[in-house]
Symmetry: C2
Subunit: 226 residues, 2 copies
DNA sequence: CCATAACGAGAGCGGTGCTCTTGCTTTCGA
DNA sequence: TCGAAAGCAAGAGCACCGCTCTCGTTATGG
């Protein structure tokens, strides 16, 4: 048991080290990282890596899960502590942006174009929801405390669909607020991707933080946060 | 002259055919298209393709430029004709979305994560600005005709930067409106990418058009279009 | 103690981007 | 008009890739 524990521990360490080396390669090579190259960096044969990850896609999946958890954790850390609703929302979204600036290739991995043949397995959907659930939570709390401004409600098929989602994650929150929260999340991703993927070049080159802040304050205003 | 014109014409046709085959491969293989595969499809040696494109990246650049022009043209077609400002804005943005749904991999090519080693050459920036300039034009026209609602102006470094950009492309438009136009464009890209890249899975599965429409009407409202 | 399972290394398969050389054809200028 | 020059296609080849298979070795557990 303790002996087999050694085996298991070594294996876990090996797995972690492969992921660490792969992340380092991600910085320079982007999404098309080479399994052979990480094997070389670790001083082992490329075929040996397959003892730990069945395929390159599986290694990518592990990195994707780590990335989701990393950005989720950064956001949750920023959201903690006492602050107004607006302040918490801004802190959270800015934390996501700063994480993305610090880990651009990992951002691309989770929010950029999907790898062609790659299909995200079920394991990723949990970690993937951390940020949106955090934002939805801020909105839910503000609403529950009666601190969200009045806006005209929305209706239609989209609203019904949102109401169903709300029932599952943030019961009691009206569709219009869920829609605003999702809108903020979408805008958040769009703004960060635009900045990281070079869409802002030659238009917003100096005050990109101000650019982002403007977008997020607009979304906060739509939600009705103060 | 006319003889050499034959040469040039054949060369142009060959170039176009390579691009066409590459686009077909893009549909199935995504961004990692194989130059050898397109060469095989054309019944020629892979080395012969290098007579027309110096590298795979150069072929990708050609596809990127075509994609920018394609989506720009679709948007411009939708924006043409008589309609209210709001209607023109909605038609335009929906046209972009529909183009993206019809050409998901080309969308990923231009608005998704950039290819790691790839640096977009100067040739792409012109075509890349067609959509944002179109949206900015709608906003400018509405403002010039006095049809935009009053909103509080913005200031700060970001506003100054936007004013400089506005001077170049849409002179006379106040920073606050340029900011709103850019915000709409960013939100547009974020919403489409989220839909195409699978971010909406398990939350918005039925009325995705309604989802998009909601986002865009929100942006139109921020601009003040009616 | 020993069968079994995990492990690492190496060879190999088919694929990739890209280069270089070799012939052939078309173009163009003296 | 004719020969040099340029364009073109093909093939071989290089180094790399993901992945599989085999083969010794080592650790594990009944």
């Amino acid at each position: 048991m303790s002996a087999s524990g050694v085996r298991a521990r070594v294996r876990a360490e090996m797995t972690e080290e492969i992921k660490a080396v792969a992340k380092r390669h991600l910085v320079t090579d982007g999404a098309n990282l080479s399994l052979r190259a990480v094997a070389r960096d670790m001083g082992m044969a490329s075929s040996a890596v397959y003892r730990y990850f069945a395929s390159r896609d599986e290694l990518l999946t592990a990195l994707i899960i780590d990335a989701y958890n990393s950005v989720g954790e950064a956001a949750e850390r920023a959201a903690a502590g006492e602050a107004s609703d607006l302040e918490r929302f801004l802190r959270t979204t800015h934390a996501v942006r700063e994480w993305a600036l610090a880990h651009p290739h990992e951002w691309a991995l989770i929010y950029g174009s999907p790898v062609p043949g790659y299909e995200a397995p079920q394991d990723t959907i949990g970690p993937a929801t951390r940020v949106i659930l955090l934002i939805a939570g801020i909105v839910r709390d503000a609403h529950a405390a009666g601190r969200t401004a009045e806006r005209e409600p929305i209706s239609g098929g989209y609203a019904d669909e949102l109401a169903a989602v709300a029932d599952q994650f943030t019961p009691g929150t009206p569709p219009r607020l869920v829609a605003a929260a999702l809108s903020a999340f979408i805008h958040l991703g769009g703004a960060i991707s635009a900045e990281l993927f070079g869409q802002l070049k030659n238009s917003v080159d100096h005050d990109r933080r101000g650019f982002f802040d403007y977008q997020m304050r607009g979304e906060a205003d739509r939600i009705g946060l103060t």
